[in-house]
């Protein structure tokens, strides 16, 4: 894979009145041509600062940024072939939709007729045709978001930067818009760096995800890899929900790993983890990787201590005999009915979906 965008030991230290804050700590990263890479993490993890350094809004304290082999680390934003869709859009309130979208072309001294053509084209692409003369203040949030998108697409940037572009939209519109963004990004094949704190959004939209915490990269991988094989407890916990059960490795082969839970139950996980025999590990159990059965049919027995209906899912908290607690989600709760608190249940694990981490 040829790296279009390359971050090398990228570091940003903010020195304010208090003690210096390391916002981004030696981040190395590659974004391939046409790839959509998402920076995902909790607020303050450095994802937005990383993006802003790529956009030219912050000067790195250390490290370099290369775009297509060219070093751009210290170029001001107006000299970089990057374009950003900002969280708050940053639309020019005193200009119409047309003028907003045409702005970048005017700066580039594109001939008037071509500006008109290209703006129409891109407004059509984002579905805003007919709204050219509106001021952005008179548009809905979703429409404003699309003006922001059109405004950067029209200048055909080499890299698109998205800074939490959907966080000002309501939940339903957010899903629609992210599909829209993804479709256009794929169609045009624009290399994109996308920042979000919403893991579902990241999973849905990305080719690859970079999970960040405290300025450092925790893991880089496809959405599946990140969800199924998290590199550490932080990633496991941040992406989706996870239970951690203590276990000991009791068997290994080239294709599987066997662990023994504190209750004595042995689980054969069909994946070769790199642990030695006898090592204590944590079993990562996703809430949906467990089936609830009558007590007699389960591999393991527990008691329901909390039961909640959350739409299509039933959410249970199960107290195991080992005193460990397991959060479990079951689909189709409406038909099956909710098990009341105090009900004894049997559990069975989906072995394929279990993951091991160091204790």
């Amino acid at each position: 894979m040829h790296a279009e965008l390359l971050l090398e030991r990228l570091t940003k230290i903010f020195r304010g009145r208090g003690k210096p804050v390391v916002a981004v700590d030696h981040v190395d990263l590659e974004v391939g041509k046409g790839e959509l890479l998402t920076l995902l993490g909790p607020s303050g993890c450095g994802k937005t600062t990383t993006l802003r350094m790529v956009g030219g809004f912050e000067i790195p304290t250390e490290g370099e940024i290369y775009l297509g082999g060219q070093r751009i680390t210290h170029l001001p934003p107006q000299r970089r072939p990057t374009a950003t869709v900002f969280q708050s859009y940053g639309l020019f309130p005193h200009m119409t939709v047309f003028e907003n979208v045409a702005f970048g072309l005017k700066v580039r001294r594109v001939p008037r007729a071509e500006i008109r053509r290209r703006v129409q084209e891109v407004l059509h692409l984002v579905g805003l045709a007919g709204l050219e003369d509106r001021p952005p203040g008179k548009l809905s949030g979703g429409q404003q978001q699309r003006v922001a998108l059109a405004r950067v697409l029209v200048i055909r940037p080499q890299v698109l930067l998205f800074d939490e572009p959907l966080s000002n939209l309501d939940a339903k519109l957010r899903v629609e818009t992210r599909e829209h963004i993804r479709r256009i990004q794929k169609e045009l094949g624009i290399t994109s760096l996308y920042v979000t704190h919403d893991q579902a959004e990241a999973m849905a939209i990305s080719d690859r995800i970079v999970v960040m915490n405290q300025g450092r990269i925790q893991q880089v991988g496809t959405p599946q890899e990140i969800y199924l094989r998290p590199a550490n407890a932080f990633v496991a916990d941040f992406i989706g929900r996870a239970n951690f059960l203590t276990a000991k490795v009791v068997g290994k082969s080239a294709t599987e790993t066997e662990v023994e839970l504190t209750s004595g139950l042995k689980l054969r996980i069909p994946y070769p983890f790199d642990f030695s025999l006898g090592e204590t590990v944590k079993v990562v159990v996703r809430p949906e990787a467990v089936d609830l059965l009558p007590p007699s049919e389960g591999e393991l027995v527990g008691t329901v201590v909390l039961a909640q209906l959350t739409g299509s899912l039933a959410h249970y908290r199960i107290l195991l005999d080992s005193q460990e607690v397991l959060e479990v989600e079951v689909l189709g709760a409406l038909e099956k009915g909710l098990l009341p608190s105090g009900t004894p249940v049997g559990l069975r694990f989906h072995l394929k979906n279990l993951h091991l981490l160091p204790a």
Binding site: E64, R71, Q78, S88, F92
Partner: protein, 581 residues
């Protein structure tokens, strides 16, 4: 240059990196390097530094030099005389401090009562009270001294009545006059500061205190007052600075109670004793700058800013009549005095000869519009030139210090705000010293007056500019540069149109401030370029109080006219702009 093939560690795995070129030595690591890529911005920053250096810092340096050197030889003799306690140096210093402290304490107290009554009670006539309180801010402050003399001077109405009725010989000159006029002139600043502070205190805090069983008095003493303390301190310092640097009131009313500003002025213009004048100026500068630094410290560090924040919606209204009506009465008396004093100027302007013949006449205005018309025209012309220049420079500097990061940003911030702390008389003196001889010889020209206007009003213009920019999401600027616009285009196409309405309103006030300004320009006016405020003072000097009053009325009308006109304009422009959003 060398070529580096490098591997990158990504989560423990080494992946093959792209071939990248990297210079051995990188200048661009520093923020200077950033500016190399943005030459327009670099040029603007350098020009602003040059302007500030030449027209703010250099004149001050010359005042320092004049106080320390005599005929090119180091000779700080007047400082030595001060430490010996020679009264012509020590007395003005002690007097200035005394007046400053009294005005700051009384003015802050009055301002607090005013602010408390308006933010925390439901007294009637709030908007009228607020309107009256802004009067001393927009009018020339020495007008209060003038009307104090009309009432309480040697020939004042009250003075004569006291003598005729009780045989008491008393006039207001000296300390009482200074404290009276300066308190009335500057309490509105305390009021505005504290109104912001009080309306920023979340009423929920006071409500919870009472909810927990505290009485109203206890709530006031233990919750409201402590929360307002940083604001009170800021207001005290602000008034102290203003009083110290006041020239217009003391020059009229100081009598035998000399203060530093006036003595410094007299040393230069009356005695041609430059070292003495400069030394008095430096003695004045020290407490002003100390108070300014303290103010910055307070405003910067304490929660003052957050408390000032946004005025919350519903305040807590003390409606107990034993609190409300005494406050109301106090406000009525206070604004009554303000109105009486301004009214006195109007009355005086239409009398034959104050203290002798109070018959109605329009002669004073005929005089102002014949003899004084050139002064008026000069003032309007020069203020008209200075205002757009100052407004523009103010917004540019505000933009640089709030939106851009460059080496020396903090220094620029500090230096450009310096003239807020430096008394006007020192600014004027510095211009006289600095631009009296080649290479830059400006004395006697219109340019020097315009420059004084611009750089004396600069801090206010910058502060206004910062406030305007805070209304605009910085992302809008970032978006513009992201789309390829450089500094100049972003500023012209994005920032300026967005701040235009506020900028115009700010310039109306700047224009008014230039028209009413006296302390700095009095040092640089010339026979050819005489200003209307200076003419007014000459009339007071000649004891032509009625003609002085007529000048005062004309100045007030010009100021009100400007503000109303600009308000009208802004409403239309702003209205259209809002509509467009």
């Amino acid at each position: 240059m060398r070529t580096v093939a490098k591997g990158h560690r990504v989560l423990g795995r080494t992946v093959k990196g792209a071939r990248v070129t990297r210079p051995l030595f990188s200048l661009s690591r520093s923020p200077f390097g950033r500016l190399v890529h943005d030459p327009v911005l670099l040029l603007v920053i350098l020009s602003v530094f040059a302007l500030i250096g030449l027209f703010v810092v250099y004149p001050l340096v010359r005042v320092f030099a004049a106080s320390l050197f005599h005929r090119g030889v180091f000779n700080p003799r007047y400082f030595l005389y001060l430490f010996e306690g020679r009264p012509y140096l020590l007395r003005p210093f002690l007097n200035s401090i005394t007046v400053g402290v009294l005005v700051a304490v009384i003015g802050t107290m009055v301002g607090f009562l005013y602010a408390y009554a308006i933010t925390r009670t439901d007294i009637p006539g709030k908007s009228l009270f607020r309107w009256i309180a802004t009067f001393p801010i927009i009018s020339p402050p020495f007008l209060l001294a003038l009307s104090a003399i009309l009432l309480l001077g040697e020939n004042g109405l009250i003075t004569r009545w006291l003598f005729a009725r009780f045989g008491i010989r008393w006039s207001v000159y000296g300390l009482p006059g200074l404290v009276l006029t300066e308190t009335l002139a500057y309490f509105p600043l305390a009021f505005l500061t504290l109104e912001g502070v009080l309306s920023g205190i979340d009423p929920a805090l006071e409500e919870s205190a009472m909810d927990l069983g505290a009485s109203k008095l206890r709530t006031f003493l233990r919750v409201t007052l402590p929360l307002a303390t940083p604001g009170l301190a800021a207001s005290f310092l602000l008034l102290f600075i203003r009083s110290l640097e006041d020239f217009g009131n003391p020059v009229v009313i100081q009598g035998r109670y000399p203060v530093l500003t006036v003595q410094a002025y007299l040393a230069i213009t009356g005695m041609y004793n430059l070292p003495l004048g400069a030394t008095l100026a430096i003695i004045l500068l020290v407490p002003s700058v100390l108070a300014f630094i303290l103010l910055q410290f307070w405003v910067g560090r304490r929660s003052f800013i957050t408390v000032t924040g946004r005025p919350s919606t519903a305040g807590l209204h003390t409606t107990e009549s034993y609190v409300k009506w005494p406050l109301f009465a106090g406000l009525v008396i206070l604004s009554g005095i303000v109105l009486l004093l301004y009214g006195m100027v109007f009355y005086g302007a239409f009398t034959e000869l104050w203290g002798v013949n109070h018959a109605f006449t329009l002669d004073n205005f005929r005089y102002v519009f014949s003899t004084g018309s050139s002064y008026l025209v000069n003032t309007l012309k020069l203020a008209g030139v200075a205002t757009p220049l100052g407004g523009f420079l103010g917004i540019v500097i505000a933009y640089l210090v709030t939106r851009k990061n460059f080496p020396g940003r903090r220094a620029l911030d500090f230096l450009s705000m310096l003239n807020f702390a430096v008394p006007g008389i020192i600014v004027g003196m510095g211009y006289v010293f600095a631009f009296n001889t080649p290479p830059i010889q400006l004395t006697g020209t219109a340019a020097i007056i315009v420059l004084v206007f611009v750089f004396q009003r600069m801090p206010v213009a910058i502060r206004d500019g910062v406030a305007m920019l805070q209304q605009i999401d910085p992302v809008i600027d970032e978006a513009a540069s992201d789309l390829g616009a450089g500094f100049f285009r972003t500023f012209r196409r994005i920032t300026l149109p967005l701040v235009a309405p506020a900028l115009m309103a700010g310039m109306a006030y700047m224009f008014s401030a230039c028209v009413t300004s006296i302390s700095a320009v009095i040092m640089v006016v010339s026979a050819k370029w005489q200003l209307v405020t200076v003419a007014l003072l000459h009339e007071v000097d000649n004891a032509d109080l009625s003609q002085a009053a007529a000048y005062g009325v004309v100045i007030v009308l010009v100021v009100l006219g400007t503000i109303f006109f600009m308000d009208f304009l802004v409403r239309r422009v702003l209205g259209r702009w809002r509509h467009a959003r």
